[in-house]
């Protein structure tokens, strides 16, 4: 207990905390790392745009294919979207079922191991899936595609004639689906596991069957998680290069015929296939198509983030 008169010097303490040298260095380098990321990303955009500009300004005759830039990139965009869409349509319901199986149906002991296996499969390099697609899936799916043509040929999707090698858009779609299945499963599983236990138990206590519990408690809670997982999978499928490049021999056409031998290629696959042999304006054109792909995936991912963030605000469930 000291009288106020004995401490005149400390009566007006500085409001700023003491900042050591080490503190300043550390804070500075952490901030610098963050800023570096911004610079790099700005660099990606600037350099891509700078290298793409010659393709926008070149006359159509100089471009590969001899037509306008939109005529060159259009079919590629179509092929990219079509293959990714097929993959998404096949993979999402399967992934949700697998995630449900792991979280709610499998024996507890098995579930953890299965979850780990799914995570591992999500990390298998895409080139492996590509090799598998062309060596195993393409020949194996020939009878099925013939059956589709024979019985469902009246649907334009399966008009045929069936490609003799089996290297078709449908096979690409299925391969991409196999590739993104573990990703969507992993995200959905995480969300399903976060379902409040009390909700599930309350539903069961009211006499709900397991399916009714899942429909009323788990799925509503996990819906945005499923959507964002599917969007992440879609982003992966859109940007997937090697599997498409190795399976399809694409031509610049737009067709919904999934099982014939002439297919549109995808942007990423086209870049990988054409880039090593390209020079001059052709390189700029490929970079311009890469820019388009960047914008498409950016849109898809932004939507996914938006959905995730919206859920974060709303999840008053727990």
């Amino acid at each position: 207990m000291s009288a106020p008169t004995t401490t005149p010097a400390t009566a007006t303490p500085s409001t700023k905390p003491v900042r050591q040298l080490g503190d300043r260095i550390f804070a500075g380098s952490a901030t610098g790392a963050g800023v570096l990321i911004l610079i790099v990303l700005a660099g990606v955009a600037v350099f891509l745009i700078a290298q793409a500009i010659p393709a926008f300004t070149a006359s159509p005759a100089e471009l590969p294919g001899g037509k306008s830039l939109t005529a060159y990139i259009g079919p590629l965009v179509f092929g990219t979207l079509l293959s990714a869409l097929i993959a998404l349509v096949i993979a999402t319901p399967l992934a949700v079922c697998v995630a449900l199986f792991i979280t709610h149906y499998a024996p507890r002991r098995l579930a953890q191991g299965l979850g780990y296996v799914v995570d591992l499969l999500a990390a298998v390099p895409s080139i492996v899936y590509g090799l598998w697609g062309v060596a195993v899936l393409a020949p194996a799916s020939l009878p099925f595609m013939t059956w589709l043509q024979d019985y469902l040929g009246w649907i334009p999707l399966f008009a045929g004639p069936v490609s003799a090698t089996g290297r078709t858009m449908l096979v690409v779609g299925v391969t991409l689906a196999v590739m993104i299945l573990p990703i969507i499963t992993a995200v959905s599983r995480e969300v399903f596991l976060q379902t409040p236990k009390l909700h599930e138990e309350a539903a069961l206590a009211l006499g709900a069957t397991r399916w009714e519990m899942i429909r009323m408690a788990v799925l509503p809670f996990g819906r945005s998680g499923i959507i964002s997982g599917a969007m992440l999978g879609l982003g992966r499928a859109l940007g997937e290069t090697m599997a498409v490049a190795i399976i399809l021999s694409g031509s610049g056409i737009i067709t919904f015929n999934l099982i014939s031998s002439s297919n549109p290629s995808s942007i990423a696959a086209n870049i990988a296939l054409q880039f090593p042999d390209s020079t001059g304006v052709a390189v700029n054109t490929l970079i311009a198509s890469g820019l388009v792909l960047f914008v498409i995936t950016l849109l898809v991912n932004s939507i996914a983030r938006w959905i995730i963030n919206r859920r974060r605000e709303f999840s008053g469930a727990n």
Binding site: T31, G34, V98, L131, G239
Partner: protein
Amino acid sequence: MTSDTRTDTDRSRTDGELAEQAVVPMPLVRAELPRWAPWGILVASLVVVGGILAATGNFGIGLTLVLGALLYAVVTYVVSRSVEGGRKATDRVVTIVVNVAFLIALIPLISVIVTVLQNGIARFDGAFFTNSMRGVVGEGGGGYHAIMGTLIITALAAAMSIPVGILTAVYLVEYGKGRLARAITFFVDVMTGIPSIVAGLFAFAFFALFAGPGIRFGFGGAVALSILMIPVVVRSTEEMLKIVPNELREAAYALGTPKWRTILKVVIPTSIAGIASGVTLAVARVIGETAPLLIIAGLTTGVNLNPFSGRMTTLPVFAYNSYAAPGVPREPFIDRAWTSALVLIIIVLILNLLARLVATLFAPKTR
């Protein structure tokens, strides 16, 4: 029934009504199918379908399983509905659907592993790990140059991404406030979505400015990979730093520890297990990248240990090129492609196990 066990509704009823209820008791448990019923129906439907197919001469394992599963679902629904009622029947059918979907999803995933093992084991020998492809036209040769290329490029990418990634995560969690932090968070999200081929194009566009359009070298590949790797490292590290309890930081501050020492000595050691396993998973992620390396690192048949000059082959590119552009005869090239794929899967597997191990070994002692 004594009065204290009665519910409110019971009390409002007269004794006569209660007596009436006792005469016609409401069953507490509905009729249920015996435990063996699902298995019985499954075996029966498979046998029936198999029998019909065999009789008509169309027998096939796949077809039998598909049609058998369909019949199984239908019969289960009908039987269960007649015995247990509609709700239970729906539940049983959904259980079947989920199980079948799981099995369907397993088929391609198992097939991938089995195919790679079967085809890759042929050249999984000493020569593959010690020989390069220099001067090899047919049999023999190996992926030594590709393995070295993969290791060098991935190590360089990791050396660039891990410090930047961890420091950024530290900034976001410990220092970041306001507009800059929000911008970084947003653009890290954007980076997560960059397709790998676009990262390769960026590295090419960047280095082509200085060295001309023919530029191909390993370091460029490392730059492209670190663009893909940084956001993964930032994300996982951020998650790990966030779950460090605030009490630990406050305790350190209360003892007069400066902030940077708190972070270095308290926050990071607490979360080092999660950070390390996140980093390992990020490495596993980029080690299998093909597309960017195809563009900027190029392809060569010889061993090149200098990432700053000359083309550099990596395993995925080697696998792709051996398969897509085989020489004559074809078989040795195809074999080498599969072996590269096998080696890649093994590397990824080891890295995943390592991540698990690290996470358990370094986990902070909570007691």
